[in-house]
């Protein structure tokens, strides 16, 4: 197994990765929700939106460079059988998360106007960008969560 490749990734603890994952989800998806209320272009909303986007993209970037992200994206020959099994579970969790997000998006597109949520093209572009980032980074986040449950079972 080539372990040298791992050293170029940031060796963050699972706890830090979980924190970054939550920050990414809140930042990216919270800012998308804010976009619905930005028609009036209030400065406070614009600044909050920008801060949330920065938090989300920053957290996603750091998460992508973590060693758990290496496990999530490494070729099969570079990780061992335990890591491979955990990665499979993490990808299954990611598929479920993405499925849920797409279901919610479908509901908002179909019935959102009843509660004043109008889906425009810029919102759809933002949605796709967030979906892409979440798909790339979520496996590492779920790997960190999986390690937490293993640690708790071992105690």
């Amino acid at each position: 197994m080539k372990t040298s490749t791992r050293f170029s990734y940031m060796n963050l603890s699972p706890r830090t990765v979980r924190g970054l994952f939550v920050a990414m989800l809140v930042g990216l998806w919270g800012s998308l929700l804010m976009k619905f209320g930005m028609a009036a272009e209030r400065p406070v909303l614009l600044i909050s939106f920008g801060v949330l986007v920065l938090i989300g993209i920053g957290a996603a970037g750091v998460l992508f460079l973590s060693s758990l992200s290496f496990i999530a994206h490494a070729p099969e020959g570079q990780i061992d059988e335990r890591e491979l099994a955990e990665r499979n579970r993490a990808y299954f969790d990611t598929v479920r998360l993405i499925g849920l997000v797409i279901l919610l998006a479908g509901l908002v597109t179909s019935f959102g106007e009843w509660v004043g949520l109008r889906v425009t093209l810029p919102i759809m572009e933002n949605f796709l960008m967030r979906l892409f980032l979440t798909t790339i980074v979520a496996p590492a986040g779920f790997l960190a969560w999986r390690q937490k449950s293993i640690e708790e079972n071992a105690e």
Binding site: M1, T3, I79, D80, E81, R82, E83, I150, N153, A154
Partner: protein, 79 residues
Amino acid sequence: MVHNRIALFRTERGLSRKELADLIDLNPQTIGFLERGSYSPSVECALRLANVFNLSVDDLFSLKPFPALSTQLSVHKKS
């Protein structure tokens, strides 16, 4: 759950987790998971581990908890 005596035999042979991991092409972290019983190895991995220690898989892994060393010693003395 699969019980094992990897930690016992590893310590007996003076191997670190990293050294053992290198011998059987695993991540050192996985050795820790195996020793704690948090991960059950594949047949191939179990055979490779047994091979490193020159033991049978039965000596290293069991579906029942292994008796404590003190118990085994007292049984051995009596016999």
